[in-house]
Amino acid sequence: MSAPLLNVQGLCVEFGPKAAPIRVINDVNLRVDPGEAVGIVGESGSGKSITSLSILRLVPEPPSRIAAGSITFEGRDLLAMPKSQLRHMRGRDIAMIFQEPMSSLNPVMTVEAQIGEAIMLHERMSRAERRARVIQLLRLVGIPDPESRLKAYPHQFSGGMRQRVMIAIAVACNPKLLIADEPTTALDVTIQAQVLDLMKDVREKLNTAILLISHDLGVIAEVCERVLVMYAGHVVEDADIRSLFENPKHPYTRGLLRAVPSLTDERSRLYQIPGSVPQAGSIKQGCPFYARCDLRQNICAQTMPAMSRHSSSHQAACWVTQNLSEVRSA
């Protein structure tokens, strides 16, 4: 195994007053290798965004804070690093794209200025060189006739085009890791297809590792090789995409896969997971999925199961399936 590009260990994030914190991210481990595409899925509020923001220490502080854990990038500890140093890694080594293309661009700056700024902050270049690079980037992300669009403002672009500009900003300095937080959720399906294609394209061309966050397993399946499933602030399953789809180990993942309607199978009835998604931090002990789980046992209510390994690339946090596989492997 090569050295990981990004390694998150035991990450915990809390909200609220220090005295009575609400823990919304609980002991998250996450690893991305160079050039790898990793996905995080989970329902709304499961902590996907907070996890990704924590990597660049962009979680709004206050009210939230990183309470425990370590995040290393190429062996350097991002959490221990002074902010000024971290700043130089932002955008250059690790870049981010956000969910809302409509609001993630500064409305009063031209497209050129915004992409140019990303370059300027990390590379010394003449004005002309920078402009050439901006044009090149716009072309890379498929904006037609980039020269004439340099002076345009974000409001003159459609949602899809704005997301392309965001991608251009993100890849401006050839980052080693691109974190994309639900980059296509706000887009229409036909536009989403365009953007996903673009991401795959960019990854191929620049050999960037990707951390893609989505609540849609379909989107992840298009782009990623490995998936983490999050539920109520916990990573409950971590597997390569194939074994996840073929042999999900966590009851939540299983339920999810069966609950998603399909374009092609016509089941007359969808499988339904009972109950509703708990508020992150509302579950103080035991497995967060306990209340909705059809395999639950007494132990589940008491202790949160640790991740157990099912294969070299498949781990899940479930007392029940863990024992089953132990039984099987024994």
């Binding site: 962009l58 700043r87 993630s104 500064n106 009063v108 409001h155």
Partner: protein, 311 residues
């Protein structure tokens, strides 16, 4: 763009007309008789009648209204009933003092208010922020005439640092005279502008594009000034318009306290003296300033907001 400006200018016409009509009607229902105000309590009835005739106070209302409109649009407000001068001259004499005061107060207010607001926003919930919030609350709570009186009594009367009356003649003495009145008004402005800066900056700093800027690796300074303040300026420019106008109206009381010449004092005096032409002109001037400032602020808004500009 040119079209937008034109439309905006045309848009203000009905407003002005409405204001004018209201002014005119208001003047006619004012209690008190200008003839008596001018001629004094012991005036002879014949003298009064002659005066009424001379100033058209006996004409039917609609005729007075038409004359009034004609006068306004030809910038001819006639003669003051009380002072021996054309109203236009009175306005011309007084307006500079009021503008000077408003301007000075705004300059002080903006130069201190914006940085204070930025500081408070950046150091949110730290002592700087709390200190500023206390200042702005108190600044808002103290009535300006009271603050003015306190400053006047302390710095002019007791300490003798500043003059007591008037606005001065040469440049140096004008500057000397304006310090306290301008400071009085500026306190409120500082509180207001600072507060506005703080809230709009805080709001902007929570926006997604600020997160984008941070994710690019921009320094905190750059984030605040280049991305934050630029966008915070949008609501601020509307706020500034309001602030200019409230400074203007605040100058009425301050001019009275510091006994400075100015439109506000002229207007209040004219009201007590029932000097119709001056009241009318004063109100028209205030209304025009209001319309003009709003117009300018709209244009500023257009200039800073590409979403409107580029169209």
């Amino acid at each position: 763009m040119a079209r937008y400006i034109l439309v905006r200018v045309l848009d203000s016409i009905p407003t002005i007309l409405l204001v004018l009509t209201l002014v005119f009607l208001a003047m006619r229902i004012l209690p008190g008789d200008p003839a008596l105000a001018v001629l004094g309590d012991n005036a002879h009835p014949e003298t009064i009648a002659r005066f009424r005739e001379q100033f058209g106070l006996n004409d039917p209302l609609w005729l007075q209204y038409l004359n009034f409109l004609r006068d306004v649009f030809t910038f001819d407000f006639g003669n003051s009933l009380v002072k021996n001068a054309p109203v236009a001259t009175l306005i011309a004499n007084n307006l500079p003092y009021t503008l000077e005061l408003t301007l000075a107060a705004m300059v002080i207010g903006i130069t201190f208010g914006i940085p204070l607001g930025v500081m408070a926003a950046v150091r949110r919930n730290k002592w700087q922020d709390n200190g500023f919030r206390v200042f702005s609350l108190v600044g808002y709570a103290v009535p300006d005439f009271y603050l003015g009186a306190v400053l006047l009594l302390t710095f002019s009367l007791s300490l003798g640092w500043f003059p007591i009356n008037g606005a001065g003649t040469d440049f140096a003495s004008r500057m000397h005279h304006i310090v306290l009145p301008a400071l009085t008004l500026a306190m409120l402005k500082m509180a207001f502008i600072g507060r506005l800066t703080r809230t709009s900056l805080l709001e902007v700093l929570g926006r997604d594009y600020v997160r984008t800027a941070r994710a690019k690796g921009a320094s905190e300074r750059r984030v605040v000034y280049r991305h934050g303040l630029r966008n915070a300026l949008l609501p601020l420019s509307t706020g500034l318009g309001l602030s200019i106008l409230s400074t203007l109206s605040g100058s009425v009381a301050v001019e009275l306290v510091f006994n400075r010449p100015g439109i506000g004092r002229l207007l209040i005096e004219a009201i007590t003296e029932r000097d119709y032409p001056v009241i009318q002109a004063g109100v028209v001037v205030f209304a025009s300033v209001v319309v003009i400032v709003n117009l300018l602020m709209d244009l500023v808004y257009v200039a800073v907001d590409p979403r409107i500009r580029v169209q």
